[in-house]
């Protein structure tokens, strides 16, 4: 016999206190009605200052990325123009093709300085680069999560042969040395989708990156989901649904899925920054985005080469990335804490 309190503790979102409170004071029922796990989480989350700050930072980044065109039009520059060649700015670059002036050529015109060699505006490059990085990462994460969730649920729920074969497929993808695969096959994949005559449109490049990262990115999530589903499908509410005649599809969707939202969300928040880093890595080794698409990874690659001559060029994307990743990781932790009443803080 398990005491109810105990059973409660094992649930992911059990909150003992409101329950007891509501029972003791029936008058308060209205007030507490409809306090969903989501709301509880929100409550908990709101009290977590780190979480709120990181969420604000993350939202800020996304907003800036989304508003990049607006911001840059207000600011009056874009990331594509070679300002060093414009007659208005005759002395942007010196003999060595380095920005003139200190701090990477920071000035009222170029807030974060100018790019060496080509003399483009760093500030807008950063803004637009953030778009590439963030949007790509969001898509990759989304696809990987979806695939992982679907395959994981199928694998976990149906078990048996299905599980076995899906498990082997997962193994297969898992066994690819990821970084190597990227380097070896990004060009191949790009080549497969573009006729050799055309300029590879940026969107195709993006699609290729997304595809490769997607193919190699879903396995972790699938495993996680599978293991959660394996334990969930033994729970009695699944049997209850079966007794009422629900189809497997309905059970998976309506009964199981809502219960694995938390781990999916948490894992997802961890995947996003790591996708950003992977995309940056691809550009860093020269197989990701090419000029003139603004991209953090390539800015890094260039910056790492000239950090002594022009530290500012490394500094801005570097710091922006560190801040974003940090904020997102912290956010992930906070989300987990908020969902899990067990973690004492």
């Amino acid at each position: 016999m398990t005491s109810p309190t105990k059973a409660e503790g094992s649930g992911p979102s059990a909150a003992l206190e409101p329950e007891l409170a509501s029972k003791a004071e029936p008058a308060e029922v209205e007030k507490l009605e409809g306090r969903s796990p989501g709301q509880l989480m929100w409550h908990r989350f709101k009290r977590d200052r780190t979480g709120m700050i990181s969420a604000a930072v993350v939202i800020f980044f996304f907003a800036v990325a989304a508003l990049a065109p607006v911001i840059s039009s207000l600011y009056g520059k874009n990331p594509y123009t070679l300002y060093a060649q414009e007659p208005e700015y005759p002395f942007l670059l010196d003999d060595f093709a380095m920005p003139t002036g200190s701090l990477g050529g920071m000035s009222g015109d170029f807030w974060f300085g100018v790019e060496p060699k080509l003399g483009r505006d760093v500030f807008t490059m950063l803004l637009y680069g953030m778009r590439t990085s963030l949007y790509m990462a969001v898509l990759v994460t989304l696809f990987s999560v979806l695939t992982g969730v679907v395959l994981g649920m199928i694998s976990g729920y149906f078990g048996g042969k299905v599980d076995y074969w899906l498990g082997r497929v997962t193994d297969f993808f898992l066994a690819f040395p990821q970084q190597l695969f990227f380097i070896a096959f990004m060009p191949v994949v790009t080549a497969m989708f573009v006729s050799p005559k055309d300029e590879t449109p940026t969107y195709l490049r993006a699609v290729a990156i997304i595809l490769v990262m997607w193919f190699l990115g879903w396995m972790g999530m699938a495993r996680l989901v599978r293991s959660s589903v394996l334990s969930l499908r033994e729970r009695e509410f699944v049997e209850a649904a079966k007794v009422s005649g629900a189809s497997p599809a309905r059970i998976v969707r309506k009964e199981i899925l809502p219960n694995i939202v938390t781990p999916i969300l948490v894992q997802g928040t961890y995947m996003l920054p790591s996708s950003i880093l992977s995309i940056a890595f691809l550009s860093y080794v020269g197989v990701g985005f090419t000029e003139p698409t603004p991209d953090w990874g390539r800015m890094f690659a260039i910056g790492a080469g000239i950090y002594e001559q022009d530290p500012a060029f490394m500094f801005f994307p570097g710091i922006a990335l560190v801040i974003f990743v940090l904020a997102f990781n912290l956010l992930g932790d906070s989300v987990r804490d908020a969902f899990d009443p067990k973690t004492g803080r």
Binding site: R168, D171, F172, L174, A175, F176, P177, Q178, Q179, L180, F181, I183, A184, F185, V188, A191, M192, P196, P273, L277, A280, F281, Y284, V285, F300, A301, A304, Y307, E308, M314, G318, L321, V322, I323, V325, L326, N329, L330, D333, K342, T343
Partner: protein, 325 residues
């Protein structure tokens, strides 16, 4: 146990075969002429024909693939000589036996991995355990905070900065370089120190977070409480009962990191100008050197698969409830 090993190993062989096939045919799926790539400045049709024959490109693709795979099992003969059993073919580009190239690079990769592993395990788990032991205190907050910040860094960001500070600006350290351990353990150690340190810094942070959270989770387990109820010392409870329970996730991550590192720490190698497996792979794929790329891929896959099996064995060792199947 034996059954488990046989079953898993044969599964690994199948997966390696599939990965090989996948790599091979993907390489051929884009129109490119390896012979033309391999020929240098004067690419006359005659020279291309010679190269094509030398590289065995005149045979049908399936034959090439079959010969490649068979070479792994039984070795092959090349104009350069006999290529013994795990023969991964001959590099298109350099004409070396791929296996030899890999073996040549492997000591460095191994040193990098093992040294880094030791450091980041020691520090990562150490600080993680410390934070868990002192949870809620200032020590915990500092450790967790620092690890969080550090784990957001990247090697290609941190590496150049560290090099700049410690090597070029101050000259406190020599440039990282690899001296075989057998030649001179001292120089081996000194040469690898900076790469280890930078690599370890980033990994350490991850392990700190991991160790801390699993330990805290474990400390709430009922059987840990039972151990305390028996009057066992807090340290004993911490390091025996809670620690044992934390091992599974930790071992999982170690296995993943280890296989990733052994199959080539690309960024680290490039950042520090070291020639390991990762560099070999990049060279191979940039020059479209099919045998080299295949070889390194398979070599990496081998580690990933083997370490997976090892990790599963470790699970069974750590947790007697886990049955090997």
């Amino acid at each position: 146990m034996l059954q488990f090993l046989i079953r898993r190993l044969s599964g690994a062989v199948v997966i390696m075969f599939l990965i090989g096939a996948f790599t091979f045919f993907l390489f051929y799926s884009i129109p490119q002429d390896f012979a033309q790539l391999a020929c240098g400045k004067n690419c006359s049709p005659e020279n291309i024909a010679v190269i094509r024959e030398n590289l065995g490109l005149d045979k049908p693709i399936t034959t090439q693939f079959w010969e490649f795979m068979m070479g792994i099992v039984s070795g092959r003969d090349f104009p350069q000589g006999h290529c013994a059993a795990p023969c991964l073919g001959v590099s298109f580009d350099s004409g070396d036996f791929v296996w030899d190239s890999i073996m040549d690079r492997f000591p460095l990769t191994l040193s990098l991995t093992v040294g880094g592993l030791v450091i980041f395990l020691l520090f990562g788990l150490g600080t993680g355990l410390l934070a868990a032991w002192k949870r809620g205190t200032a020590v915990d907050k500092i450790v967790s905070g620092a690890s969080m910040v550090l784990s957001s860094f990247q090697i290609y960001f941190l590496g150049p900065i560290v090099l700049g500070l410690l090597v070029y600006q101050t000259g406190w350290f020599e440039n990282p370089k690899y001296v075989p351990f057998t030649d001179n353990p001292g120089s081996w150690f000194v040469g690898m120190l900076i790469p280890w340190a930078v690599m370890a810094t980033i990994f350490t942070a991850q392990y700190t977070r991991m160790a801390r959270s699993t330990m805290i989770e474990q400390l709430q387990e009922e059987h840990v409480r039972t151990a305390r109820a028996k009057g066992m010392r807090q340290r004993y409870v911490f390091f025996r009962y809670a620690w044992r329970g934390s091992l599974i996730p930790i071992v999982t991550i170690i296995g993943m990191d280890l296989s990733a590192l052994l199959s080539g720490a690309v960024v680290t190698e490039f950042t520090f100008d070291l020639a390991g497996i990762g560099r070999l792979a990049v060279e191979g794929s940039l020059t479209k050197d099919l045998p080299l790329t295949m070889g390194v891929m398979l070599f990496g896959a081998f580690f990933i698969l083997i370490l997976n099996i090892v990790v599963d064995l470790a699970y069974a060792y750590i947790d007697p409830r886990v049955r090997l199947a």
